[in-house]
């Protein structure tokens, strides 16, 4: 398969998109306001859509253009809008269900980013292709999303964490294997899953249940 060269214009753009998305993930991790989570996630998705567009343009692949448009419409617009409605309906502002302070979270995030660079060692990806620069970034985004899911106990924060993981996976997918045949289907499917999750939070009023549940009520689920 043809690979993107790191020094080509497309390669540089893709690299930039990766860095911006990593910043978005860090911004989410460093915030305590639900609104901010949604905004940062939305921006990150728009950047992902741009990155997909760059790859689609470079390889002239129609299914990647489809993915680019879908990412913009669903992840960039629909999911943030729906989540924002959810926040208004449930009157959520500040996320108090955080396990660690913000500075600890950011330090852990930095550690995970370093770890991502350690894991994606040179023998995995050839030098000179843009994937060797972007795949560590996408791995770091995946890890930061997972960290957000671990550190935040609120369902919406966990949902956003999972969506960030998904963004990281797709950034890695389009750079590593642009010919991956299942990419559009997998993307649509995961968006469906996200939609179901949002509905679950909304319909069941789970948010209320969890936000108000204290340790004694959850005693049954220990051990």
């Amino acid at each position: 398969m043809e690979s993107l060269n790191a020094t080509s214009a497309a390669g540089v753009l893709l690299d930039l998109c990766g860095v911006l998305m990593l910043l978005g993930a860090f911004a989410c991790l460093g915030s305590k306001l639900f609104n901010r989570y949604v905004v940062y996630y939305g921006l990150q998705s728009v950047v992902l859509s741009a990155a997909t567009g760059v790859v689609a343009f470079h390889f002239a692949r129609i299914e990647l253009w489809v993915l680019c448009v879908l990412t913009l419409l669903i992840k960039g617009i629909a999911i943030p809008t729906a989540t924002r409605r959810l926040l208004i309906a449930l009157e959520l502002k500040r996320d108090v269900a955080v396990s660690t302070g913000l500075s600890t979270a950011l330090i852990l995030g930095g550690g995970l980013t370093a770890f991502a660079y350690l894991v994606i060692r040179p023998d995995l990806l050839p030098h000179g292709v843009v994937a060797s620069a972007v795949v560590p970034l996408s791995t770091a985004i995946v890890l930061l999303g997972a960290l957000e899911m671990v550190l935040r106990r609120h369902t919406i924060a966990q949902l956003i964490g999972w969506l960030i993981v998904e963004n990281g996976v797709f950034l890695g997918a389009i750079t590593l294997v642009a010919t991956f045949p299942f990419i559009v289907e997998a993307g649509i499917f995961l968006d469906l899953v996200a939609g179901v999750l949002i509905m679950v939070v909304f319909v069941s009023g789970l948010t209320r249940e969890l936000a108000h549940a204290n340790a004694s009520e959850l005693r049954e689920l220990r051990g």
């Binding site: 995995l124 966990q158 590593l176 009520e217």
Partner: protein, 491 residues
């Protein structure tokens, strides 16, 4: 063959269709049972056919069955039948005692059918991308079952299950990506690069560095669904909060489907990377799960959680068997998969009868079930002995095979360690269940089965114990051949 496979995956939807059309527990239950019986018949046919004639595929590998999928299809279809029988009885009682509304009952059968159908479908595909989609979809269907009773604990359990499993399966998708990447150097078409038989044919030529990462990510990702420690945290909550027949499906069918996905990746990795790496990964996760599972079994409390931790332990044992490897290890792993599936279905379904009778999941409040609910109590006792690996039940034989495989693999202390933990598990588990079953009953059960419900409730228990006993005393030559053929398909 293609028609049969599609039919096999669609048949369990009979219960779903009945529920959508507005049937009550009675009719939907019968529909689910009828679908499950037909599915088991077809699965048996597929097992025989693949064992004698080898793999077959259609639709560019989107439909692919070989001996291994045949074996897992049979196991899962058997569990679906046991759980459908259990559901038909359990939900009828829940409906007329008013614990669940009619809508909830319809919801249950609707998602139960979809869950079963998605699991069977995921065993009939050779496309690893499709496998990811079907397994994740089965998470959604089963999460609805976990949260069905809509208490705050069951909603919490359902959320925990869905979010952890989704994260896990997304990681498995990354593994699939790296696997595809490792095949980009070969001249396979894009679709073939995701289709298992082609990948397996070229497994020796896959790029080792990315194959290694792909295998590890797949074990972590699908291992989340299997309940390998430390990704098992959703499992005890989900198993204890779901209605009991649904817990049986989770423990005996869903976990096995995840294990099946791991075995597919393992087969590729074993050829591409050699034994040492695969062995190390599987043994680390396997022993981790056994140790965590056994330690949490010591706590005496919710008996459904106890069974759930026992599932973690048994999945660990299967992972260890896969790690020991060799024909003996593989044989033990597959035989243990079947035995554990049947044994755990029996335990969870009988635990459903206890929950219906006493409305508690706390083992400390239950005594003398043998007197008050003789059949359930008896089955609970026999089932516990079976799941703990006492002779003459099937699990004794499969655990014995696995220990032998361990010694044969050249390591003395690993199988010895496994034996030690099996002994601790025996004490911990039996302490709780004998306390429930033996002694003098303080109270009599509230709701019990009557009429046709009784037949539906007893059937899976008797059938399951019968199968366990049979497999302990004698492995039918057809099954033996099927297992040997499955080993051949994945090595």
């Amino acid at each position: 063959m293609t028609t049969i496979l599609i039919l096999l995956a669609v048949l369990p939807l009979a219960g779903t269709v009945a529920a959508v059309l507005g049937a009550a527990a009675r009719a939907a239950g019968y529909a689910a049972v009828a679908g499950a019986v037909a599915a088991l018949a077809l699965a048996t046919y597929v097992l025989v056919r693949t064992t004698t004639e080898g793999p077959s595929q259609a639709l560019a590998g989107f439909i692919y069955v070989d001996e291994l999928s045949g074996f897992f299809l049979f196991t899962v279809a058997l569990v679906v039948l046991l759980a459908s029988l259990g559901s038909a009885a359990y939900l009828r009682v829940e409906e007329h005692t008013g614990t669940l509304s009619r809508f909830q009952v319809r919801l249950y059968f609707g998602f139960f059918g979809a869950f079963a159908s998605l699991m069977l479908a995921s065993l009939t595909t050779g496309n690893l991308g499709m496998l990811f989609v079907l397994i994740e979809a089965s998470t959604l269907a089963s999460a609805a079952l976990v949260g069905l009773e809509a208490r705050s604990t069951s909603l919490e359990a359902a959320w925990k299950y869905i979010i952890i499993s989704s994260l896990g399966v997304t990681i498995a998708l990354v593994g699939t990506l790296f696997l595809f990447y490792s095949a980009t150097g070969l001249h396979l078409s894009a679709n073939q690069g995701l289709t298992w038989p082609y990948l397996f044919h070229h497994a020796g030529a896959l790029a080792p560095a990315s194959l290694r990462l792909a295998f590890l990510l797949a074990v972590i990702g699908y291992g989340t669904k299997v309940g390998l420690a430390p990704m098992h945290t959703w499992l005890p909550d989900a198993h204890s909060e779901a209605p009991s027949p649904a817990s049986a499906m989770l423990s005996a069918a869903l976990l096995n489907t995840g294990m099946y996905a791991i075995i597919r990746f393992l087969a590729l990795a074993r050829v591409g990377l050699g034994d040492a790496y695969v062995q190390r990964v599987m043994l680390v996760f396997g022993f981790g799960s056994v140790i965590i599972g056994v330690l949490f079994m010591v706590h005496r409390g919710n008996f459904k959680r106890l069974f759930a931790y026992s599932s973690v332990e048994h999945m660990g044992i299967i992972a260890i068997a896969l790690g020991f490897g060799g024909p003996l290890g593989m044989y033990g792993a597959l035989l243990h998969t079947l035995n554990h599936a049947v044994g755990k279905s029996v335990l969870f379904i009988s635990s459903g009868d206890v929950v219906l009778g006493y409305r508690t999941r706390d083992a400390r409040r239950l005594h003398g079930l043998l007197g008050s609910l003789p059949l359930t109590g008896g089955v609970l006792l026999l089932g516990s002995l079976a799941i703990l690996g006492s002779p003459p039940f099937g699990l004794f034989l499969s655990e014995f095979t696995i220990i032998r495989a361990g010694f044969a693999s050249g390591s003395g202390w690993l199988p010895a360690l496994l034996l030690l933990f099996l002994a601790i598990a025996f004490i911990a588990f039996a302490r709780t269940t004998t306390g429930m079953v033996l002694g003098r009953a303080d109270t009599s059960p509230q709701a019990t089965y009557s009429g046709a419900e009784r037949v539906l409730a007893v059937a899976p228990l008797v059938l399951g114990i019968g199968v366990l006993l049979l497999l302990g005393l004698w492995i039918p030559s057809g099954l033996n051949q099927a297992i040997l053929a499955s080993i051949g398909a994945a090595t």
